[in-house]
Structure formats: C-alpha cells, structure tokens
C-alpha cells in the first residue's frame, strides 16, 4: 500500500501526500517510508515557530505564507495542537488563522501532539521528508503553545523562531535555561503594544551575555502589519542547520529519541523479550551495562 502511495506521490497526487502524512502520524509503515525517502536530499528550509499559546504563531505563519509564495517557493505548514490525555481528542485550530488558500503551492496540515512529547506531534521527520520529495522548499513547523523546557523542536528544524509578547516575565525570566537557548531568532510579536521596547531590551541583554551566538531580536506587529518582511529576510539569511556540519550532535539527540520511542512501543505491547530483560536486571542477575547492551539489541531487532 505504501509503495503505491509513494508512486502516486511522485506523480504529484496531493491526496496521496495527505494519506502518507496520516500514516506517518499514526506511526504506520515508518521503516518502509524512511527507507524509500532516504535518497532525497534534505532540500527544504524547515522553520519552527515556538512560544506560548496565544502569542500569535499561527497568525504570523499566515502572514509569512504570501511572502514566501511571492518568491516562488512552495510552502508546507505542520501545525501542532494539543491532544487531550484524558479523551484522546483534539481541537486543531491553527489553520483557520492562516488564511484560506486554494493555492497548490501551499499545504497546511494540522496535527495532534500528545502531552510529554516536546510540544510536537510524532514522526515529524518523516513528514518533512515527504514534503521534500515533492519539492516543498519551505516548511513551517508550529509547536503546541510551548513551555520553558520544550527544546525538542531544534532537532527537526534549520531555524527556530521563539515568539514572545510584551509584558511577559522580568529580566530573571530570560536567564533560565531552556527555550531561549534554542532560539535562532527571537520575535517580540504584538509590537504595537506599549511595553515592546522593554521586553525586547531585556531579552537582548540576556542574549548578549552569550556573545558567541548572535541571536537577532525582531519586533513584529501583525496588527500594524510591520516587521514581517524583515523577519523573513532574517530567516532566509541563516544557514541550514540540518545540512550543516555542526549538526553532528543532533544525531545523538535523534538516536536517543528513536531509542526511547522504540522502548515505549515495546513496553506498551508487553514485549516478552523486554519484560524478561527488565526482570533479570531488577533481580540483579544482569549487570546494568550488559542489560543496556541487550536492550539496544532487542529494540533494534524489534518491529517499531
């Protein structure tokens, strides 16, 4: 089924693309998908937008889409919203803020993200590869309204845009570890509000304590319609991290995430081999190092 869908995808069938993204979201046929997409170059610029709920991520993406299109690039959006841990349900309400387009060069997909998964939906890497296969040059990634510690988005993207708004936090807030560290660009959105300069100055001061990394701080107002072109130019001028040599450390991060995912899958289906391994380790029969080695072997062999 996946091979047939991939054929249709390569012939430009949009419905096949939509279906394949669903399969990736559900974690079906991942190995086959990854294998068949591996040959394609990582050609897209993946730009992540993160920040708390209500800061204006969807709205800003909606304003950037026409700018990107005016330069002739095809643009895809993967917009994550939270999934209820209680009911499993989700209200995916990002796309209606992005304008309703029937432009073939724009593809917007809403995704549900489970809590505890870094404010992102699962298997985004595979979805990004699918878009790259059919020539989407820009991919916008929107996190669930992300909190201070949600830094996983960095793993999937070339550029992380952290969005803040005036009246958030004092100067100590910006000294905390986490989300500010992973930002490549900081946007103070709603820059028509009165305390914009104060917030921008505090963030600037905090960032300047680490002079090795230059992080631009931009003011953008969607209400006053200012700053969007400058933001897009700034995004476009940054190097593509996913292709860059310095991304080697991302391999370890990705490997850990992959390992964890496999472990959780094996755990939830009560994999007999895994249970045996854990029990032997708990009884002290297997030393930790050897148990870890066996765990790695077990999970590598196991079907995802």
């Amino acid at each position: 089924m996946i091979a047939a869908l991939l054929d249709r995808l390569r012939q430009g069938d949009r419905n096949a693309l939509a279906r394949l993204i669903s399969l990736a979201a559900q974690g079906e046929g991942l190995a086959e998908l990854q294998a068949s997409l591996a040959a394609n170059p990582r050609s897209a610029r993946v730009v992540a937008f993160t920040g708390s709920g209500g800061v204006g991520k969807s709205t800003l993406i909606g304003k950037l889409i026409p700018l990107v299109r005016s330069q002739g690039h095809k643009v895809a959006v993967l917009a994550c919203d939270p999934q209820s841990p209680l009911s499993g349900g989700a209200l995916l309400g990002d796309r209606f803020r992005m304008g309703s387009s029937t432009d073939d060069g724009v593809f917007i997909r809403s995704l549900a993200a489970q809590s505890g998964h870094g404010a992102l939906a699962d298997h985004l890497d595979v979805m990004i590869r699918l878009f790259e296969t059919v020539g989407f040059e820009v991919i916008f990634l929107e996190t669930v309204g992300a909190g201070q510690g949600d830094v996983e988005v960095r793993r999937f993207s070339d550029v992380v845009v952290l969005m803040l708004q005036p009246e958030t936090g004092d100067d100590v807030q910006w000294e905390k570890a986490g989300i500010l560290e992973c930002a490549d660009i900081v946007v103070v959105h709603k820059a028509d509000l009165p305390t914009t300069e104060q917030t921008a100055a505090q963030v600037r001061a905090a960032l300047d304590l680490s002079p090795a990394r230059h992080v631009p701080v931009l003011r953008v107002s969607t209400k006053a319609n200012t700053g969007h072109a400058e933001l897009w130019q700034t995004i476009h001028a940054l190097p593509l991290r996913r292709q860059h040599a310095t991304a080697a450390s991302l391999l370890l991060e990705s490997a850990i995430a992959w390992f964890k995912e496999r472990y959780q899958a094996a755990e939830s289906r009560h994999d007999a081999e895994l249970v045996k391994l854990i029990e032997a380790w708990q009884r002290g029969e297997t030393p930790t190092e050897i148990a870890a080695q066996s765990l790695l072997n077990t999970l590598t062999r196991a079907k995802p």
């Binding site: 279906r19 349900g89 989700a90 796309r95 549900a112």
Partner: protein, 133 residues
C-alpha cells in the same frame, strides 16, 4: 489500525453565527475525535482543499443562513472533482424539511436540525459507516 476520527468543521458563505459549530466542536473533541476547525466565511473551494490536505474522514458544515441549497451542492461537486468521495458529509443548522430529502439524495449522510443532542451527533459519527455504493 484504529485511529481517532478526523473531522473538518466549517461554515461556508457569509453566515457569521458560529456558536453552534463551536459547541459541536467541543463535544466531538471530548468524544476523542480530532476536530480541525476551519472557521467562518469559507468558500466551498477552500473547504474542499482543507478536507483533502487534512486527510479527513468527515466534513461537518454548519449553515444557518438559508444558503444551503446553493453551497452544499457546490461542496459536494468539488469533493467529487477532488476524488474525495470517501469523505462523509454531515450538515447542521436551519434546514427546512423539504430540503432535507433533496440534500440527502445528493449525498449528505445526515442533517442535524435545532434541538439535536450532542450525544446524537457523537453516536452518529461513531457508528461504523457503510461503504458508499
């Protein structure tokens, strides 16, 4: 594999009354579905594009303006053109008795009028669908 029902909820045309559709959106969310809220003032073309890109199982349209005999057939026609015959469509709002039969004959799976309970809508969506002829 079992996956949550994906449903696009939208209002087409110039009707600006969105309280009803938001109440339905909440109920479907609480029933474990993934609700893609497309919002107000959508064109039939934009709704069908949303359905396609979101790979939805269902479309729910809300119409309270009286434009249903113009807009719903247009959406159905565009769905056919986009090869989305597998997507079920339900309509909610103020639909006169006489039009219900017409819309059903065109391919609308179910029409929910005023006074419908949320349980009824959830129950309808959770009942496995018979494949279309």
């Amino acid at each position: 594999m079992d996956h949550p029902i994906r449903i696009v909820l939208a209002k087409v045309g110039l009707d600006g009354h969105d309280r009803g559709i938001k109440v339905v959106a909440r109920a479907l969310r609480d029933a474990g579905m993934h609700v893609i809220y497309a919002g107000l003032w959508q064109t039939p073309e934009a709704v069908v594009r949303t359905l396609a890109d979101e790979d939805a199982d269902w479309l729910g349209l809300s119409l309270l303006s009286g434009a249903h005999m113009t807009l719903v057939p247009r959406v159905l026609e565009l769905m056919k053109q986009a090869n989305l015959d597998n997507v079920g469509i339900m309509v909610g709002g103020i639909i006169p008795e006489a039009d219900i039969a017409k819309l059903t004959a065109m391919g609308v799976a179910k029409i929910f009028g005023p006074g419908t309970s949320l349980d009824e809508i959830v129950g309808f969506l959770k009942t496995p669908r018979e494949p279309k002829p």
